[in-house]
Symmetry: C2
Subunit: 310 residues, 2 copies
């Protein structure tokens, strides 16, 4: 018996967004992964890797697999799922590679099931994938990957996701080819912070949300300041301070570490500036002698794209 | 020689607004003070009190006086100012009594000077008044008093004030007649907070700003949660927990300590609910046996009112 198939492109995402540690994220128009999903008569989740990353085939240890198992628990009429996964977003890059695997898988299957689950339910399923990836069920990549645009995760328990309507923003991302593990990046953070620093941080996140919703680019730029996480984590990323300073000189509104790094993102008002920022980033990492990839893109307002269905 | 006079009504304000400690405030339509201001040929600031509070007559020790001295420094062509002050907003109530004295004075004089100073400059002058009152140059009462509406103070240095366009909100305030000094209320706060609590707080302030700007009453309600300041400061206010719980049962969206207390404010969607909340507050403090005043009003979008000029 043959089943319907769907191909989806879950996008890369930027979490934290400087002053929004653990609560804010946005989706990018590229890069995206390519996942093919098919309902199956074989029970459980079968995984086929169509790339060089050798990701685990055991669904309980695989990010997409864990998300799909959570979905299957809520869909007892569905026997099994076959996933063919082609990762384009490099694992460990800090632009939501694991979130794309988890979110893409559940959005794809939901499409095959005539969208019986809400976006919020899909986020809940996909968070099981994030738990496999980093040990923490966070949603600041998952939510923008599924909802698109800029999303605020006001609370995880209970889950409270708010879409923020932002103006057009051009995003430049540089991924220096060094390894920063999410778990390590989390561990070096202090468990206590100074109240006066926390006040600065919530002034900035309030300013950033207002900047997005009021389409105030200057306010977005002024609010992109992180006095708590960035000073600690940026130590793990060679060239960080220079990239940030020179990107702003090149006209970027601001930016910082994407997720837990090592990627760095910068926001700009127009494509020409985003390209100038890319040049700056390339110059810094070329001079330091660290290999890198760059992406120049825009915020993706759609979330996971369903590209074909047969 | 006779000079132009102006009478202004600077309004009470609610600072902090639960999760916006030190960065958020809004103005009320009542109560308001009544200040009369007049340019004078006599150098410096002369103060006449037209109420029972015996506030200091030495301008350097008087909240309005200190603000006016700062303004005079920036207006060397103005010789002196005469202020007649009638306080309606009780000092020490936690609804911005000192801010009203400071803001009203400088807005009034600015009116006599054909509005030569910007609102931001007026905030800077008025902050000298707050310094006299509490030792700290904070702007979270001053800014809404001068700008009206809901204001975000993203940063004090440099000063960055953002007006947030909020939906119609009805405000119930109860002022239990106990004394909580701003300096004491500040001193009992811990200088360090848990990162996980700070994250909750910035999720909530981000949600509250989004709730205001997206006119989403339910989101405003969900975001009115303070895990850092309220648990400490509310201990100083007998009946606080009960007032909060019963006000929500009566339909309030949420609320908390106004400024550093002892006043408690609650936000509601309509006037009938705000009146039901008032009844609840009255019942609690009557039973506990603490004298109180209540106010049922709305957010004042105008700021200091210039009521007459001759």
């Amino acid at each position: 018996m043959s089943h319907k198939k769907v191909i989806v492109n879950p996008p890369a995402t930027v979490a934290n967004v400087v002053c929004g540690f653990d609560i804010l994220g946005f989706a990018l128009n590229e890069p995206c992964d390519e996942l093919q999903l098919e309902l199956s008569d074989e029970a459980g989740v079968q995984i086929v890797n169509n790339d060089e990353y050798n990701l685990p085939l055991d669904p309980e240890k695989n990010v997409s697999g864990a998300a799909l198992l959570a979905l299957l628990d809520a869909a007892p009429d569905v026997k099994g799922i076959k996933l063919t996964s082609k990762k384009i977003i490099k694992p460990g890059s800090g632009i939501g590679s694991s979130a794309a695997s988890a979110a893409g898988a559940v959005v794809g299957v939901n499409h095959l099931l005539d969208n019986r689950f809400t976006k919020e339910e899909l986020v809940q399923f996909a968070m099981f994938g994030e738990k496999v990836a980093s040990g923490v069920k966070h949603a600041d990549n998952i939510a923008p990957c599924i909802y698109g645009g800029v999303t605020l995760i006001r609370s995880i328990l209970p889950l409270d996701i708010i879409s923020l309507d932002a103006p057009t923003l051009h995003v430049t991302v540089v991924h220096p080819q060094i390894e920063v593990k999410t778990a390590d990046a989390r561990q070096i953070l202090k468990q206590q912070v100074l109240l006066k620093d926390a006040i600065k941080q919530w002034g900035n996140i309030a300013g950033l949300v207002a900047g997005f919703l009021q389409k105030d680019y200057a306010l977005i730029g002024r609010s992109l300041e992180d006095v708590i996480i960035e000073p600690v984590r940026s130590i793990l990323i060679p060239g960080f301070d220079e990239v940030k300073e020179k990107s702003k000189e090149a006209g970027a509104l601001g930016g910082g570490i994407s997720g837990s790094g090592p990627s760095i993102f910068m926001l700009s008002k127009d494509n020409a500036t985003a390209l100038a920022v890319e040049k700056t980033m390339q110059d810094v990492f070329t001079r330091i002698g660290i290999d890198f990839h760059t992406h120049v893109t825009t915020i993706n307002n759609e979330g996971v794209k369903v590209v074909s269905c047969e």
